[in-house]
């Protein structure tokens, strides 16, 4: 009895949540702003997706928690969830008819009401809205009753079509760089969104592929490979990834290459902060300081303007900048050796601000340029070739990331890596085991400062001019979020986190001001769903999801312990 009432209550709740999300998206103006942007030209607009997708999602949520899969009950629950969602919107529109909600929520315009009621008269429109919501819920239920394999392929196909349509503008920007090859792809897209035919083709292609790959037993195939074949597969994958990494700037064009450069610099700094926070457990909120120190040292030493010092070349100034950054790391490390946790965070935060304020001050203006910053910073040259544009700099950044990644991977399972880990777990006991707290902590700060300083150097030479505003507190926070999103202490996590956190806002740029809404929502959902990060370290995953740590994970941990050098 209790069980029965609980899933009806859940259905009610899910329906209201779905309606609430749609209502929120409508009220903030997102729906209206994309009312004429098509995903499939002439058929489906983004606005419709924004309004109906929450119903679809909540309906599947309702169906999932059903104890049995009787068709009638499934349809009932799905349809009810959808209908409830529609009812929330309909009720809102009705109320708006009597009270002028627009005086409070300015986005609730007659246009929005028209859009939500399909440009029909009020009563007919409301009925249409309810009807479509019901259909969406029923569709969700219907899809759920299909066999797993078909359902998986179907949802994959729908997802891909919607995403390709959604990011049409970005994809077209990229394709336009491809010379004559562009004509092989451009026909897929209409003026806005996909054409109907290409949407159908894409749907069939992805659905077919999904159906086929779901039928293959990947594990069995992988297990049947000989060690030689396994090696070929592993190196083949690496080779393809490497090739893609090398060709990316050529494929993506200069606009996206700049984004890639930014992502790269963030990943580089993420690798460094991951050592400090992820490995050694020292919460550093002033990480931007070393970034600023690296950038300003390079700027000061290489600028061709009067404010500079020596007008050195990039390659001569680079090691100086790195040494200065590391020295700063050690100097910061010394006074805070005794601090832990929150206290450490506050002091490092202060350090970051000190550096920014010092740079901004009039006192050092002759050297650092004050608020005018430093312009015309030297570019690196290899032989006669000056790495001037974003595509060329990409390769320099790539090399730096590879080196930094290699160092981080080697450090992780080294003697030093283990002492960081022990220090993170329990400082007193680590000392009792014979770990020198002072040198170990200072080494962590120094390594972090090294990578951050390198990031600053690359940033300075990439942009060519630096200003104090570029080195605000938010940089530290972004890099910290990057590590958390990727998975604390995990090296692949830094890459995933970098792509997600720096890449996502850029992907969402077409949503203008709404992008922060989406970005924030994605972050919240992600932290609720995957608190251990997107690509977590094996032991951390084990800690947070002990129940579903299958034999695979145990195996993984075993190999890690067996070969600490891996």
């Amino acid at each position: 009895m209790k069980n029965k009432s609980s899933y009806w209550a859940k259905t009610l709740q899910n329906g209201l949540i779905g309606g609430g999300i749609s209502l929120l998206l409508s009220v903030v103006g997102l729906v209206l702003a994309f009312g004429k942007t098509y995903i499939i030209s002439g058929v489906l607009t983004m606005a419709q997706v924004f309004v109906l997708a929450p119903f679809l999602f909540e309906a599947t949520q309702s169906i999932r928690q059903l104890p049995s899969k009787e068709p009638i009950k499934t349809l009932l629950v799905g349809g009810l969830t959808g209908l409830l969602g529609g009812a929330v919107l309909a009720l809102f529109i009705l109320i708006n008819n009597f009270i002028n909600i627009r005086s409070v929520l300015i986005n609730v315009s007659p246009d929005l009401v028209n859009l939500l009621t399909f440009h029909l008269p009020l009563v007919a429109g409301l009925l249409a809205l309810l009807g479509i919501s019901l259909v969406v819920g029923l569709v969700a239920a219907g899809v759920f009753m299909l066999p797993d394999r078909i359902r998986g392929a179907l949802s994959q196909a729908v997802m891909v079509v919607v995403l390709v349509g959604l990011f049409r503008d970005l994809i077209v920007t990229v394709i336009l760089h491809w010379g004559w090859v562009q004509y092989a792809f451009l026909w897929i897209f209409a003026q806005s969104g996909l054409t109907i035919i290409s949407a159908l083709l894409l749907f069939a292609l992805v659905g077919g592929l999904g159906y086929w790959s779901a039928g293959r037993n990947r594990k069995a195939i992988a297990a049947n490979r000989t060690p030689r074949q396994q090696k070929v597969v592993r190196w083949g994958t690496l080779g393809v990834l490497g090739l893609i990494a090398l060709l990316l700037p050529a494929i993506l064009g200069s606009y996206f290459s700049e984004i890639l450069d930014n992502v790269g610099i963030y990943i580089l700094m993420g690798l460094g902060l991951n050592i400090v926070v992820g490995f050694a457990g020292l919460l550093d909120l002033g990480y931007v300081a070393f970034y600023a120190i690296g950038a300003y040292t390079l700027g000061m030493l290489t600028t061709s303007e009067a404010v500079g010092l020596l007008h050195l070349s990039f390659w001569v100034a680079l090691p100086v900048a790195l040494v200065v950054a590391v020295a700063a790391g050690v100097i910061l490390g010394l006074p805070i050796l005794r601090l832990r946790g929150d206290y450490l965070a506050i002091v490092t935060l202060g350090f970051g601000e000190i550096i920014r304020i010092v740079v901004l001050s009039d006192w050092l203006k002759p050297l650092l340029g004050g608020s005018e910053g430093i312009q015309r910073i030297g570019k690196p040259a290899i032989g006669g070739l000056v790495l001037a544009n974003q595509q060329q700099l990409y390769y320099l950044i790539l090399v730096c990331i590879l080196i930094a990644g290699f160092i981080a991977i080697r450090l992780k399972d080294s003697h030093l890596g283990r002492s960081w880990m022990a220090l993170r777990e329990d400082e007193d006991v680590a000392e009792a085991m014979g770990i020198n707290k002072v040198t170990t902590k200072l080494l962590a700060f120094a390594m972090g400062a090294l990578f951050s300083g390198l990031g600053g150097v690359l940033f300075a030479t990439k942009v060519g001019s630096i200003y104090p505003q570029s080195f605000s507190f938010i940089v530290s926070i972004n890099i910290l979020s990057l590590i958390i999103v990727g998975g604390m202490g995990s090296i692949p996590g830094v890459f995933v986190g970098g792509l997600a956190l720096v890449g996502l806002p850029l992907l969402l740029s077409q949503f203008a001001d709404f992008r922060y809404l989406i970005y924030g929502a994605v972050l919240v959902i992600m932290m609720l769903r995957k608190p251990e990060g997107l690509a977590p370290e094996a032991r951390r995953r084990l800690e947070l999801h002990e129940d579903d740590a299958g034999p695979g994970l145990q195996e993984e941990l075993q190999t890690v312990t067996k070969n600490p050098g891996r």
Binding site: R418, D428, V429, E431, M433
Partner: protein, 237 residues
């Protein structure tokens, strides 16, 4: 010949005078126990010996050498290692990794392998669970792991802080049996315990601590017969 001499130490937590002139000695090959109620200063004494807390007065000598200039991490090189109160194993590391951390200061080699074997012989349970993450072990297993970790440093003096804490009586007995065995194999032990009965049953000598002072010291057998001890620590009327 005393391996550890503690001479008239006074330790403070801020303004709180926690140890008011403690003196004790541990001879090579002995099990010596330090018993006392909650808050008597047992753990503080251990923390001071380990250098985690600096005494304002007095000195600690190990093998006749004053430990005042030493940092906590130096002591393990000298041959002193500790099983901390409440186990404090590295809960996110596997059992093997915990044991490896214990041998942090040592070189890889046949001696290390032999010590690992010795720990696994003392605690077969740890061998079964060596791939398991420390935090998932039971309390008794964690105590075994903490003891094993300390032994991996191959100490001459082992400091143990309340190994019986929070364990079922059966487990307490087995842990104490192991302590005797470790001692027989040549490791000197300073045992801090609240469970006075158990501690006195395996120790050669004992010190009784009360509010930062040593109020009694004698052989374990004499202490067991002492009326005051029987009344306040052994629960006999």
């Amino acid at each position: 010949m005393p391996i550890l001499e503690v001479e008239n130490i006074h330790s403070y937590y801020g303004n709180i005078h926690a140890l008011k002139g403690i003196s004790l000695t541990v001879d090579k090959g002995e099990i010596v126990t330090l018993i006392g109620a909650n808050g008597a200063g047992k753990s503080t004494t251990l923390r001071t010996i380990c250098g985690l807390l600096k005494p304002r007065e007095g000195c600690v000598r190990f093998d006749g050498e004053d430990l005042a200039p030493c940092k906590p991490h130096d002591l393990i090189f000298k041959g002193m290692s500790m099983v901390p109160e409440g186990r404090r194993i590295f809960s996110r590391l596997t059992v093997s990794e915990n044991l490896e951390m214990g041998a942090y200061t040592r070189r890889k080699g046949p001696e290390l392998v032999a010590d690992l074997e010795r720990v696994f012989t003392l605690f077969p349970r740890l061998k079964e669970r060596r791939k398991q993450v420390g935090g998932t072990l039971s309390g008794g297993e964690q105590q075994m792991l903490a003891t094993g970790r300390a032994l991996m440093a191959h100490p001459r003096l082992l400091l143990m802080d309340e190994p019986s804490m929070g364990l079922a009586p059966v487990l307490v007995e087995s842990i104490f049996d192991t302590i005797v065995q470790i001692n027989k194999e040549g490791t000197t032990i300073l045992l801090v315990e609240q469970n006075a009965l158990m501690a006195l049953s395996i120790a050669a000598r004992g010190y009784v601590l009360q509010t930062g002072e040593i109020v009694l010291q004698d052989s374990a057998d004499e202490l067991k017969k002492n009326k005051m001890i029987q009344k306040s620590y052994l629960g006999m009327e």
